[in-house]
């Protein structure tokens, strides 16, 4: 099966510090659901940054959608970024825009007209339970509501790769299940999903998902073979 992402001997360091990621060799296959786990500081967010092209590796090569992008000119990157949906740990919503405008942003950046934006955004807001909060600005939304807006923004343009950093950290269990339901639905439609989480319960509740575990900046299982989710129900790792 073709790979949506291929990491080949990838390393990353910030400035002159030590490497936060070392010798990463793995492939993310199209249409597969992955969980990225590991203790705090293991490098999960850094790995995700490499995946959604917010960071270049300091060594090694990264291929996304079949294209070598680790040293690609920056002008080449926007079309690839449009194929990736990202749910940030800190939501990254634009404070002075309404929930509607925040969710509509990827469609507008892709060149959709106002008429083409209206329906899908309303539908998406309704799906995440925020139909009546469309005109609210992020500072007036609760943490959970902001997270749902961030998720709606990440999936509004049906990305080929969905990257989520602790997407259920601020929502209740029912909403977490609904959001994971959305992710798995997108996955069934062909989207490759990678979710960084500490939540073992979430992993256990998603059968068929593969597990990538990071420790101290390296993959615990460098072969990247299919793993069984842990059966533990004891919260974070």
């Amino acid at each position: 099966m073709a790979a949506v992402a291929e990491f080949d001997s990838v390393g990353l360091r910030y400035g002159t510090g030590a490497e936060v990621l070392r010798d990463l060799d793995f492939r993310l296959r199209f249409g597969t659901f992955y969980f990225l786990t590991g203790p705090s500081g293991a490098g999960k967010t850094s790995l995700l940054k490499l995946l959604y092209l917010a960071q270049r590796p300091t060594r090694g090569r990264i291929k996304l959608f079949g294209e070598e992008l680790s040293e690609a000119p920056r002008e080449m990157l926007p079309p690839f970024r449009r194929r990736i949906g990202v749910v940030f740990q800190d939501f990254r919503l634009i404070r002075h825009l309404s929930a509607f405008d925040n969710v509509a942003l990827p469609l507008r950046v892709a060149g959709a007209s106002d008429e083409d934006v209206e329906g899908p955004v309303r539908e998406m807001l309704a799906w995440v339970g925020l139909a009546d909060r469309a005109s609210a600005r992020p500072p007036t939304l609760s943490g959970g509501e902001q997270q749902r807006v961030a998720i709606a923004r990440a999936v509004i343009n049906r990305p080929e790769l969905l990257v989520a950093d602790e997407p259920t950290g601020n929502v209740d269990a029912e909403m977490a299940n609904r959001l994971m339901g959305l992710f798995t639905a997108l996955n069934r439609l062909g989207t490759t999903v990678i979710v960084a989480t500490h939540d073992v319960g979430l992993i256990n509740a998603t059968p068929g998902a593969q597990l990538i575990r990071l420790e101290n900046g390296t993959l615990v299982d460098p072969t990247g073979t299919l793993r069984n989710p842990p059966r533990s129900k004891s919260g974070s790792s």
Binding site: E75, P78, V86, I94, H96, L97, D101
Partner: protein
């Protein structure tokens, strides 16, 4: 070409700061006001120099020391020379009146020898040598003088002042451009987060740049129109004095062409500010991934 200027309300909302909230429109207004007044002065000086230059370009004088016993013959001789279009003797009384400014009543003394002066105009290509030879045959001491040589220092000063005006216009335009660069950088800093989010979801540098370019273009347009209107009001107030100066210098004020140039200046400054903003923003965005 101007699609970036006409964007949907949603795109306008992306940069949420209030119009006229920053100093940019006011800086541009002051710059436009100053540039227009300086440019108007420069153009009026150019016109004055042009009028003066044209008026004396073909004018010459024959000076006959000790007065002209053969003045009528000399006038007739000059008039008969090919290429001479008009001849006019300056009356002795006028000469003495002129001298009175420096000599006082002594200028009227019969003992003061006053040279005779004959002004004449020639067609282009007229043989001035032939005129001088002919004049010297009639009045041996006659000296031919070009009027433009007499007023050369004044014309040089006017040229210099025009150069100064042009230099000031360029300097002020550069200062306005520098102010726009600072404004663009400030706006980028203020909206760094929005830019990061937009880049993250696949916006190109050009898409981001257009937002800032549009904002600064609007600020610059408002500022330059305000500054331009203020300058126009001052120029209208000065119009009476300019008309007087026009009579004094032979009609040199501002032509329709000059007024058109002045009217275009605010828009030229807006275009400059927009281009500078675009360049500054694009350059700054290239620093990020």
């Amino acid at each position: 070409m101007l699609r970036w200027f006409f964007v949907s309300p949603a795109e306008r909302r992306l940069l949420g700061f209030a119009r006229l909230g920053g100093p940019t429109p006011w800086v541009i207004a002051i710059m436009t006001f100053s540039i227009m007044l300086i440019a108007a002065t420069g153009l009026a000086l150019a016109n004055t120099a042009g009028v003066l230059s044209r008026a004396i370009e073909s004018r010459y004088a024959l000076e006959v020391p000790g007065g002209g016993a053969n003045l009528e013959v000399l006038i007739a001789g000059v008039r008969a020379t090919p290429g001479v279009t008009s001849v006019e003797a300056v009356p002795e009384s006028d000469m003495r009146k002129t001298l009175e400014r420096w000599l006082g009543p002594a200028a009227q003394s019969a003992e003061l020898p006053v040279p005779a002066l004959i002004n004449f105009d020639v067609r282009p290509g007229a043989d001035l040598n032939a005129i001088q030879i002919r004049a010297r045959q009639i009045a041996p001491g006659a000296q031919l003088m070009a009027h433009r040589d007499s007023v050369a220092p004044l014309l040089n000063s006017l040229d210099l002042l025009q150069g100064v005006a042009l230099g000031l216009v360029l300097l002020l335009s550069a200062a306005a451009a520098a102010a726009v660069v600072l404004a663009a950088r400030g706006a980028l800093d203020t909206h760094r987060f929005t830019i990061e989010v937009m880049h993250g979801i696949g916006a190109t540098d050009l898409q981001v740049t257009h937002l800032f370019q549009r904002k600064i273009a609007i600020d610059a347009l408002i500022g330059s129109i305000v500054g331009g209107l203020a300058a126009a009001a001052v120029l209208l107030l000065l119009a009476g004095g300019a008309a007087f100066a026009g009579e004094f210098t032979g009609g040199a004020t501002l032509s329709l062409g000059d007024l058109a140039i002045l009217a275009l200046l605010p828009f030229a400054l807006t275009a400059l500010a927009t281009w500078v903003a675009r360049t500054a923003v694009l350059q700054a965005l290239r620093q990020a991934l």
